[in-house]
Assembly symmetry: C3
Homo-oligomer: 345 residues x 3
C-alpha cells in the first residue's frame, strides 16, 4: 500500500514522498523498513530518526526529517486505526460447535460462535455475532449482548446482564457472590447475594478480573469503561462511564465512582467511597471517604497530589530533618546553659 | 406473606401493623413497596424513612416510624435469613452429566451433580450432595466433602482435602505448587512441592484465589474462615478458624494466623509471620514478625493502629513541621549571632 | 533406603551411623521417624534436636548431634534432589485423549498428553512430551515447546511462543491483549494489540498469572525466570533471565528488567521503568524510573534500602520528633521573650 493510500485511511497531510510502499505498522522501537510508525513523545525524537521505519504519523511537522510524515491531529488514534486495518480480521461465525453445551431454552442470536466446552445455561441469551471461546460458562438467565467476545474460561454467573460489543478477556469471573457475612453466635454467617451485575455497552475487561454481583440491587459497570487484568470489584459498586481502572486495583463494596475516573495500578478503594467524575488517583493509592474532582496520590491515604509529593519528599529527607532538629536542640540547650551560668555569676 | 408470618421466621416483636403483605427483601437503597429491609446504621435513618419499603428489621424500636418494625437482636442476621428464605433454592441433584469425565476408580457420593467438562481424576472422592460446575478439575486422590459447591473453572490439584459445606467460587486454584527454589550453579532449582492442602469444613473461598500446597507438610485453612477474591496464600501457611481475609491479600510461606483474625484488602503478610487470634489489620498493611492480639495498620510496616494514625497525620503535616523547624533555626541563628556580636563588643 | 544410599544421591560425607533406614523426606517441623530433613537456619537448632527425623543434611557438622548428618555444600539443594527422587513420578504419556479438541492442522509431538476439554487451535504446535491438562486452551499458531506442563485451565492466546520445559500453573493467561487505548472524541479507543509473547526455556509461572502480548513487538520472559501466583505483566515488558517475581507483583507496560532481579510480593513497577541486573526490591515497593544494581525498598516510592529504613524509623517516631520540635520552640520563644524584656529594661 502506498503512503498516499494510507493517508486516505488516516486523513491528514503528507510531508515528503507520498509513494513509499507501506507493508506494516509498528511502534518506533519495533519498526522495520516498510513500516509506518507514530511519534507523540518528544523524548523519542532520536529513536525516530534512527529507526528504519519508512513513514511516521505525527501531530506537528518535523523539518528535514529523514522519512515522510503524515501530519494528523491524533497520531496514536490514526496508528490504532492502521493496526486495525492491517492486522485485525473480522470474526467469522462458526455457529454452535460440536462439543459445546447449550441449554434447550437458551436463546442464541444469528452468527454466534460457541466453541467446544463452552456452556450456556437455561434461560440465557447470547446476542447476534457474539463469540464464546472454549470453557466459557454462562449462567442461568444471563443475557449477553451483540458482538461480544468472551475469551477462554470466562465465567458469567446467573442473572448477569452484559451489553453490546463487550470484550472480556480470559479467566475473568462476572457475578460471583459478594463478600457479605454477618457475625452471629461466633460464626460469620453468609448473607445470600441475590442482586445482579450490569455491564453496559462497549466495556472491555482484562484477564482474571473478578466482579461480584450485588447483595440486593446491582453492581454496575458504565459504558465505555476499560478494566485491566486482576482487578477486583466488590458487590454493589457503581462505576461510571469511560473510566480507566488499571491492573490489580481493588474496589470495596458500595463505592460509587463517577465518569472518566482513572485509578492507577494497585489502587485500593475502601467501601462506600464516593469519587467525583474526572478524578485521577496515582498508583498504590489508598482511597476512603469522598473526593471532589482532582488528582490524588498516596498510600495508605491518598492526598491531593502536590500535597502528598511535598510530604513524601520530606519523608525521604527525615534523617536530615531529624539531625537539624538535634543540632538545634544542642544549640538551644547551650544558650540556656550560658544564660544559667550568667545568672549564677 | 404477611408481616406476622415473617416474624415467625425471624423472631422478635412487631411494632405497628402486622398485616402488610411482604413480597421481597432488599437493602434500604434498593427497596420497593412490598419489601422488608433492615436498619443497622443510624446514619441511614433519613434514607429509611424516605424508602418505599413496607417494613423494617431493626434492633431498637423507632418511635413514630412511617412503617411497621420487627425488633430483633441482630437485624442483619435476620435479613440474611429472609434472603435465604425468599431467594435461595436448594440445589437439585443432576447426577453425573453427559460430557463430564469421571475416572473409573473415583468415588462419587449420592446426589452429586457433575456438569459437562468437569473432570474428576483417579482416586478422587466427591462427597454426597456436592456440585461440580462445568470445567471444574479435581486432581488425583483429592477428597471433596459433602454438600460442597465448586463453581465453574475451579481447579483442585492432587492430594487436596476439602471438608463439608465448602464453597469455592469460580476460577480459584487449590493446591498448586508453592513458590520454592534453591539457588545452585546460577539457577533457581525447583524444590518439589510434595505436601498437601487441607481446607476444613464450612470455608468459603472467593473467585480467582490461589492457595498453594505445602512443600512438605500441609497448608491449612481453618473451618469457618471466609476468603475474598484474588487472595494469594502460599505454601505451609496455617490460617485458623473463622478468619476474614479480604480481597487481594497475599500471605507468604509458613505464616501462622490465629482464629478470628481480620486482614483487610491488599494486606501483605511476610513469610514466617505469627499473628495472634483476634487481631485486625487495616487495608494495605505490611505485616512481618510477631503480633500479639491487637489492631494494626500501616504500609509497608503495620504499627499499632493509634500509633500509626499519629505518625500518618504528622506525615501529612510534614511541610508545616519542616517550615517550623526552619523558622526556629533562623531564630536560633539570630540569637547566636546577637550573642557573638555582644561578645565582640 | 539406607542413609549411605542416600549419600550416593546427594554426595557429601556422613557423620555418625550410616545405616539408619530412610523412608521419607521432610522439613524439620513436619519430620517423622525415618525421615531425612535439612538444616540451614541456625535459629532452628533446637527444633532440629527435638525433631524425630532420623538424619539431617547440613553444611557444617554439628558436634554431638542426636542424629546422623550428611555434610554437603548446599543442603537445601540436596534436599530438593531427594524430594524429587522419593516423590516425583515421571509423567506417562496418555496421548491425545478422547474429549479433547485438536485442530486438524495443529502439530503435536511424540509423547504428548492432551486431556479432555483441552483445545488446540489451528496452526498451533505442541512439542514432544508436553502435557495439556483439562480445559487448557492453545490459540492459533502458538507454539509450545518440549516437556512443558500446562496445568488445568491455562489459556495461551494466539501467536504465543513458549520454550522447552516451561511449567505454567492453573488458570494463568498468556498473551491476552495489553491495556492500550487512545483518547479520541470522548472515548477510550482500543489500540489493537497485535504483538506477541515469548516465554523462553525453563520458565515457571504460578497460578492465575496474567501476561499480556505486545502492542507491536513482543513481551519477553527470559529463561530460568520464576513467577509466583497472581502476578500481572503488561504489554512489551521485558524480563531477563533467572529473575524471581513474587506473588501479586504488577509490572506496567514497556518496563525492562535485567537478569537475576528479585521483586518481592505486591511490588508495583510503573511503565517504562528500567532495572539493572541483580537488583532486589522489598515487598510492596513502588518502582518508577531507572535503578542501578542495588537493594531498594519503600512504598509508594522505592529508595535505597538503608535510606528507606532510616526514614521509616523516623516516620514511626514522628510524634516524638514533633514534641521535641514544639518543646524547642517554646524554649526559643522564652529566650526571645527574655531578651526582649532585658532590652525593655
Amino acid at each position: 500500500m502506498k503512503l498516499k493510500e494510507i493517508r486516505e485511511i488516516t486523513g491528514g497531510r503528507i510531508i515528503g514522498d507520498s509513494n513509499p510502499e507501506i507493508k506494516g505498522v509498528s511502534g518506533i522501537s519495533e519498526s522495520k523498513v516498510g513500516d509506518i510508525t507514530y511519534f507523540s513523545n518528544k523524548k523519542l525524537l532520536k529513536e525516530l530518526i534512527a529507526s528504519p521505519a519508512s513513514a511516521v504519523l505525527l501531530k506537528e511537522e518535523i523539518t528535514d526529517l529523514n522519512k515522510p510524515q503524515i501530519v494528523v491531529d491524533n497520531p496514536l488514534f490514526c496508528f490504532a486505526g492502521l493496526l486495525e486495518h492491517f492486522y485485525v480480521k473480522p470474526p467469522v461465525s462458526m455457529g454452535i460447535m460440536e462439543g459445546s453445551f447449550v441449554a434447550d431454552d437458551a436463546e442464541t442470536g444469528e452468527d454466534v460462535t460457541i466453541y467446544p466446552s463452552a456452556f450456556v445455561s437455561e434461560g440465557a441469551t447470547i446476542g447476534r455475532g457474539t463469540t464464546l471461546y472454549p470453557n466459557v460458562f454462562v449462567g442461568r438467565n444471563s443475557r449477553i449482548g451483540k458482538e461480544c467476545i468472551l475469551h477462554p474460561g470466562v465465567v458469567i454467573l446467573e442473572d448477569v446482564e452484559i451489553g453490546d460489543e463487550v470484550i472480556i478477556h480470559a479467566g475473568s469471573v462476572m457475578g460471583s457472590d459478594g463478600f457479605g457475612y454477618v457475625f452471629e453466635a461466633g460464626k460469620h454467617v453468609k448473607i445470600p447475594q441475590v442482586g445482579g451485575l450490569i455491564i453496559e455497552d462497549d466495556v472491555e475487561i482484562g484477564s482474571n478480573v473478578t466482579i461480584d454481583r450485588g447483595t440486593t440491587g446491582n453492581t454496575v459497570i458504565g459504558s465505555g469503561t476499560r478494566i485491566d487484568n486482576l482487578v477486583q470489584i466488590a458487590h454493589n459498586v457503581r462505576i461510571g462511564k469511560n473510566c480507566i481502572i488499571i491492573a490489580q486495583v481493588g474496589i470495596a463494596g458500595s463505592s460509587d465512582i463517577g465518569d472518566y475516573v482513572t485509578l492507577a495500578g494497585q489502587v485500593g478503594v475502601a467501601d462506600h467511597t464516593i469519587i467525583e467524575s474526572g478524578s485521577i488517583f496515582g498508583a498504590k493509592s489508598g482511597i476512603t471517604g469522598q473526593y471532589k474532582k482532582g488528582i490524588y496520590f498516596g498510600t495508605p491515604f491518598a492526598l491531593p497530589h502536590k500535597q502528598f509529593m511535598k510530604s513524601q519528599s520530606l519523608f525521604n529527607r527525615l534523617p536530615e530533618i531529624n539531625k537539624k532538629l538535634n543540632d538545634l536542640q544542642e544549640k538551644v540547650d547551650s544558650i540556656l546553659k550560658d544564660k544559667a551560668e550568667v545568672r549564677d555569676d
